[in-house]
């Protein structure tokens, strides 16, 4: 009851900022005649209630609220959510409704050509292929959605790989410090100065796998293992500033081991910047993947990614522009949204980095 009343109160106060705050407004007449003891009791109840609300707002909740206030971030979140859902469920749904799988190549010779969007084989309007078909008559929408699966998978898994390497590497370097830190960070510097795209290409061609799936896994590892450098630096910096705080000393004074201090006490404290940077790494990795696919090193057929679809589309850009436009636009939109989301997260989780 009381809680209900409180929420109503706050809402009215917030909703009508021009009028006086309602708590002083309503009991105004009584207040003068209220005996002091009662007034004090009331005040106590009110503090108890505010305590209740204060308790409910944790760090993550605050961050979440801050994120929801950011319109671009919300837009990004929605788009990323929709694209992810569509990629996961899309190919399946299309198969159920039209019977077309992403790699379905029509057997009829007249269908073995690229149709523009919303066109059927006789040139009339049709819902069958909203994005048209590709050279072999495969449904482009199904291809784009399936490509989305691969692209997002590459982005997320490679980022996770880089996360695991970068966070542990940076945290260990930062916490141990001294000579170890020096050597570890010089290694990072050296790796930084190497052209990473060439490393990836070398890795991919050196361990070239026979199957498309093997090649995909190799791609995760190769991309992940070159994109952890900045993550390592960020985490090291965070750990350097955290490790001199008293709670680390307190943990050591209670006999907690070094490994446990790093992984249980320090790393959770670096999560804010790590999440932000990871979100911003996903689009970078996806872009690199597209670039690699463009060069022919990335995802191998029969699998497709947005990058490889765009590559296919570019060959026919003058005649069948939709083959490039649809995968390209989908990818651009997703990358855009991820970047917005990352920026929003940075504002929400990492107040020091906020620049106004």
């Amino acid at each position: 009851m009381n809680e209900d009343k409180l929420t109503v109160d706050t809402q009215t106060t917030r909703g009508v900022p021009s009028t006086l705050p309602s708590p002083t407004n309503a009991p105004d007449v009584d207040a003068i005649h209220t005996p002091p003891e009662v007034a004090i009791a009331e005040a106590d109840v009110r503090t108890a209630e505010t305590l209740e609300t204060v308790r409910a707002s944790s760090l993550w909740r605050d961050a979440w609220r801050c994120l929801l206030r950011n319109k671009l971030a919300v837009f990004g979140m929605v788009v990323v959510g929709v694209v992810t859902l569509a990629s996961l469920l899309g190919p399946y749904t299309i198969k159920r409704t039209t019977g077309l799988t992403p790699d379905y190549i029509p057997t009829e010779v007249s269908l073995l050509k690229s149709f523009p969007p919303f066109t059927s084989s006789d040139g009339s309007f049709s819902w069958t292929h909203p994005m048209g078909t590709d050279n072999q008559g495969r449904d482009l929408l199904a291809r784009v959605l399936q490509g989305g699966q691969i692209s997002l998978m590459v982005g997320i898994i490679s980022t996770l790989v880089s996360l695991v390497i970068g966070v542990s590497y940076g945290a260990i370097a930062g916490y141990v410090g001294g000579r170890t830190d020096n050597i570890m960070m010089r290694v990072v510097d050296v790796l930084y100065s190497l052209p990473y795209i060439i490393i990836v290409i070398v890795l991919l061609s050196m361990f070239r796998s026979q199957t498309a799936r093997g090649q995909l896994i190799l791609l995760f590892v190769a991309l992940g293992s070159v994109s952890w450098l900045t993550m390592a630096r960020i985490v090291r910096g965070q750990v350097l500033s955290l490790k001199n705080q008293e709670f680390v000393l307190a943990a050591r004074a209670t006999g907690v081991s070094t490994g446990r201090i790093i992984f249980r006490h320090l790393i959770p404290n670096t999560l804010g910047p790590v999440i932000v940077y990871a979100t911003l790494t996903i689009p970078t990795v996806m872009l690199t993947e597209a670039f690699l696919s463009f060069l022919g090193f990335g995802v191998q057929p029969p699998l497709a990614s947005w990058g490889s679809l765009a590559t296919d589309g570019i060959q026919n850009i003058a005649i069948f522009p939709w083959q490039l436009i649809f995968p390209g636009v989908t990818m651009a939109l997703t990358l855009f949204s991820l970047n917005f989301l990352g920026d929003g997260l940075r504002d929400a989780l990492d107040p020091q980095m906020r620049t106004f």
């Binding site: 760090l59 008293e246 307190a250 004074a253 209670t254 907690v256 249980r264 404290n269």
Partner: protein, 358 residues
């Protein structure tokens, strides 16, 4: 000694107690901790000796930078190395030299047998861990508790230190607690393995005066219940007076005076202690100004050859600048580092009796 199994834990401890009841728990001999800095070697702790009996409370007082905290961090070897280094000395804890233990062994002593409470409760709890988890970590680590046992123990400890509704509050994060409450949680953590020695490093400095009294009362009460020995570091003589059995006064990394608390307050045998006692504000003295010891604490990297306190001392003579003062025994338990220890002691002794007569 370090009992791993929770079942054997109780009986072993009581055996321990019987064996060493009234015995000495901690003996520190000639402890020296130096820091290498750009300005030269800082002798933060320079040849400290003291003893602590089981169940006793020892107070260590001194100005900022006198080496109080470094002494205690040295005891459980938490000096940041580099730049710090324990150069020499012995820390005999229940007969075992802590300075000779391996890193693994000393870790089992920390938290389990010697626990610490730090100055600032606002920063000494991990902001990203629930209170319950921080408490549980202690007993899971040292007493081999299962999750369930550790949780129940954590709740019990929170109740012991007077946190209302411990079951509800245990799931909270430190930022949802006030300073006093956090210090209570720190105390709960420190005492959750029933350590033999509790080191409280200025446990009340960061708190309100009203909360200070509560926290001190709590430490006192729990000390009584658990029989833990306590080392209380502070620069507040008011805190020390009601809490401790023995006192050590530190200055420039050295013990300047050492005595039972009552004796030291009544008959200080060292000019520095006298100065400290005089600087406690006296509410009955209406027109009086606050007294302060003239000058500043010395630069520990460049100590003079004589007495480090000489430039600020009322009793200063030629000899103070040329020769390092002796550690004079004034009576069975009272020592003072001063060339004129006897004079100062008799002077304050006669002043004390004078006050009594008038």
């Amino acid at each position: 000694m370090g009992c791993g199994m929770p079942s054997t834990h109780k009986c072993e401890r009581s055996n321990d107690k019987v064996e060493a009841r009234n015995g000495t728990l901690l003996e520190v001999h000639d402890l020296r901790t130096y820091f290498e800095t750009e300005d030269g070697v800082v002798k933060a702790v320079d040849g400290i000796n003291f003893q602590l009996k089981r169940g006793e409370t020892l107070g260590i007082v001194g100005e900022s930078g006198s080496g109080k905290s470094v002494t205690n961090l040295s005891l459980i070897r938490l000096i940041p190395d580099p730049p710090g280094k324990i150069v020499s000395g012995e820390v005999l804890f229940a007969g075992q030299d802590l300075l000779l233990l391996s890193a693994e062994e000393i870790r089992k002593v920390r938290g389990r047998r010697i626990a610490m409470i730090f100055q600032d409760p606002m920063t000494s709890l991990n902001p990203f861990m629930k209170i319950s988890r921080q408490l549980m970590e202690m007993t899971q680590l040292h007493l081999g508790h299962t999750k369930q046992q550790a949780y129940e123990h954590a709740i019990k400890m929170l109740e012991t230190v007077g946190i209302p509704e411990p079951r509800r509050r245990a799931g909270d994060y430190p930022d949802e607690f006030s300073g006093g409450m956090r210090q209570r949680v720190m105390i709960a953590m420190a005492l959750s393995c029933r350590p033999e020695l509790l080191i409280a490093d200025e446990p009340t400095t960061a708190l309100d005066v009203t909360i200070q009294a509560q926290i001190l009362e709590l430490i006192k009460k729990l000390k009584h219940e658990t029989g833990t020995s306590v080392i209380l570091i502070t620069h507040d003589l008011g805190v020390v007076a009601g809490m401790t059995d023995h006192l050590i006064v530190m200055y420039a990394g050295k013990v300047f005076e050492q005595a039972p608390t009552r004796e030291l307050f009544a008959k200080p045998g060292n000019p520095y202690t006298k100065g400290l006692l005089r600087s406690v504000p006296d509410p009955t003295d209406e027109h009086g100004q606050l007294y302060q010891i003239p000058g500043l604490p010395p630069d520990v990297a460049h100590l003079p050859s004589g007495c480090p306190f000489a430039p600020r001392c009322d009793y200063e003579q030629e000899i103070c600048h040329s020769e390092f003062p002796p550690f004079v025994q004034l009576n069975s338990e009272h020592y003072s580092l001063c060339h004129f220890a006897q004079e100062v002691y008799f002077e304050s002794a006669s002043a004390a009796t004078g006050v009594k007569e008038s």
